[in-house]
């Protein structure tokens, strides 16, 4: 509980510092809105030309897009410490100041930054999600709401886990961290479309290795009433749990990398 309190207090402080420059904040938020709006526009334009993607109607695709958008940008918003601050902390040695405090490193890294501008992207995602569910006539039963929430929650941890790959490579002072980005940002670009649109190799990659499909597409397709993979209904409740599992594994690897850091210095 103490950790949660610490997190909330840290967020308060960070928000206060960001709002010291209100105009800059506003403009950057607006830019984010247009950026994600542009991404959505691309899907709309593609649907205008092609009408459907396999069995998926435009409404279904907006739903998938919205789900990815909301989840991914929630993770970017709160995982800013991992993607933004951590690499430079390792480079400059600022990481040392975290090591001398009686808290977990990951906790402190997550407490060190937040990116509220992403709210704009989350907003676009939400609009897309609502639009999609209207067009596809989703029935909002309690079970569906719960399933969607679970999917977003688990996806959040999946993406944070993938962000950790970059952090781990950073500790081992690997130069080309872009490779790590390929799987995270590539995953986002690819899995805003349902995974069954892809050839086998990509499908396997995003189901087994970076399980976006298990975390988002299985429950989402269940909500849309067109379950992929032909799996039974209960699997939609279980498969998203792979997200937190990925995070747990990455957290262990991160702890191991930190041990390496402490025995080599940097």
């Amino acid at each position: 509980m103490n950790t949660v309190r610490l997190y909330i207090r840290s967020m308060g402080i960070l928000l206060k510092s960001q709002l010291q420059y209100p105009l800059s904040f506003l403009l950057q938020t607006l830019a984010q809105l247009i950026m994600e709006g542009g991404e959505m526009l691309a899907v709309v334009l593609l649907m205008d030309r092609f009408d459907h993607l396999h069995q998926w109607t435009p409404g279904d695709l907006y739903f998938f897009f919205g789900l990815m958008s909301v989840t991914f940008y929630l993770a970017e918003c709160f995982g800013r410490g991992i993607t933004g601050n951590f690499p430079s902390m390792v480079r400059t040695g600022q990481l040392d100041t975290l090591l001398i405090r009686p808290r977990g490193i990951l906790t402190q890294v997550l407490c060190s930054a937040v990116d509220p501008r992403r709210i704009a992207c989350i907003l676009v995602g939400t609009v897309s999600l609502i639009l999609g569910s209207r067009m596809s006539q989703v029935e909002w039963t309690a079970a569906h709401v719960l399933l969607l929430t679970e999917s977003i929650f688990c996806g959040f941890w999946l993406i944070l886990g993938l962000f950790l790959i970059e952090a781990i490579l950073c500790i081992h002072s690997v130069k080309s961290v872009e490779i790590a980005n390929a799987i995270t940002y590539g995953g986002r670009s690819a899995c805003q479309y349902p995974v069954d649109a892809f050839p086998r190799s990509l499908r396997t990659l995003f189901t087994v290795i970076a399980p976006f499909a298990l975390v988002m597409h299985v429950p989402a397709s269940r909500i849309l009433g067109k379950p992929i993979f032909g799996w039974p209904a209960w699997t939609a409740w279980i498969s998203p749990l792979t997200g937190p599992a990925v995070f747990a594994v990455m957290m262990l690897l991160f702890a191991k990398a930190m041990r390496f850091y402490r025995s080599t210095g940097s």
Partner: protein
């Protein structure tokens, strides 16, 4: 003239030094290209278009290969503009516009060549329907290369204008983000311009953003037939001239302002 040449050469050399980063970037870009093509293939499977699939895959690869050209590239220069460190350059006995133009041009040229070559080789090795197709004809290839050069000049002119504006606004980050977005959406990075609705084509292909990479690609695939080529090149050249003149004017005004205000 010598000053511009030497800054150009210096930047060319600097760009070749980041080979490690280039490799990572290329792998990343290839992966993105594959994902995009997979999506378009799936869409085509459902509803074939009059525009052949090979044109779309070629478009994607060329777009990915020259991705770096469109990206605002010179973070160091941008920082200089933002923090006012640019005052030092004002003391140099050169035309600022030309000086920065040469610098940006070198960076974009070398940056995209280093990335484009390995990516195009990779794309050429992919099976049909996934990889890059051959150019429509030999003259089409030659014309598209000429158009690419013109496009490069056009991008540089545009970036110089962005920078000139950056100097005037108090908070450039938001402003730059907006201009970059416009570039993303209207240049074809986000979605090939050829896949935008047919009714939009006449407008978006007239805009300066389409002159940068979209026009050369369409000449390469043969979507712009040979007889259309002079018109296309003329449009490109026209926009480039307009952008360069606008940029020069803006820089001249900035320079005067800087001198009066003392930075």
């Amino acid at each position: 003239m010598k000053a511009y040449l030497s800054v150009f050469r210096m930047r060319l050399r600097m760009e070749t030094q980041y080979r490690g980063a280039v490799l990572g970037g290329v792998v990343c870009q290839i992966f993105f290209g594959l994902i995009l093509i997979a999506v378009y293939r799936a869409l085509y499977a459902g509803k074939p278009q009059s525009l052949p699939l090979a044109h779309v895959t070629t478009y994607v690869w060329l777009q990915q290969a020259f991705f770096r050209m469109l990206l605002s590239s010179d973070a160091e220069l941008m920082d200089k503009v933002r923090t006012g460190g640019i005052a030092y350059d004002l003391c140099r006995p050169v035309h600022l516009y030309g000086f920065y133009y040469a610098r940006i041009l070198a960076q974009k040229l070398m940056g995209s060549l280093l990335r484009a070559l390995p990516m195009l080789v990779f794309a050429a090795l992919l099976p049909e329907g996934w990889g890059i197709a051959l150019p429509a004809s030999v003259p089409a290839l030659a014309l598209s290369l000429a158009a690419l050069l013109l496009g490069l000049c056009c991008v540089c002119a545009m970036e110089n204008i962005t920078m000139a504006f950056t100097m005037r606004t108090l908070d450039p980050r938001g402003f730059q983000a907006m201009l970059n977005l416009l570039m993303m959406i209207l240049s074809g990075s986000l979605l090939p311009l050829t896949l935008y609705p047919d009714s939009w084509q006449w407008v978006i292909t007239l805009l300066p953003y389409a002159q940068m990479l979209d026009a050369p690609i369409r000449l390469y695939t043969g979507e712009y037939a040979l007889p259309q080529a002079p018109g296309v090149l003329l449009l490109q050249g026209g926009w480039t001239a307009v952008l360069i003149l606008t940029g020069m004017m803006l820089w001249k005004r900035n320079q005067r302002r800087l001198i009066i205000q003392g930075g």
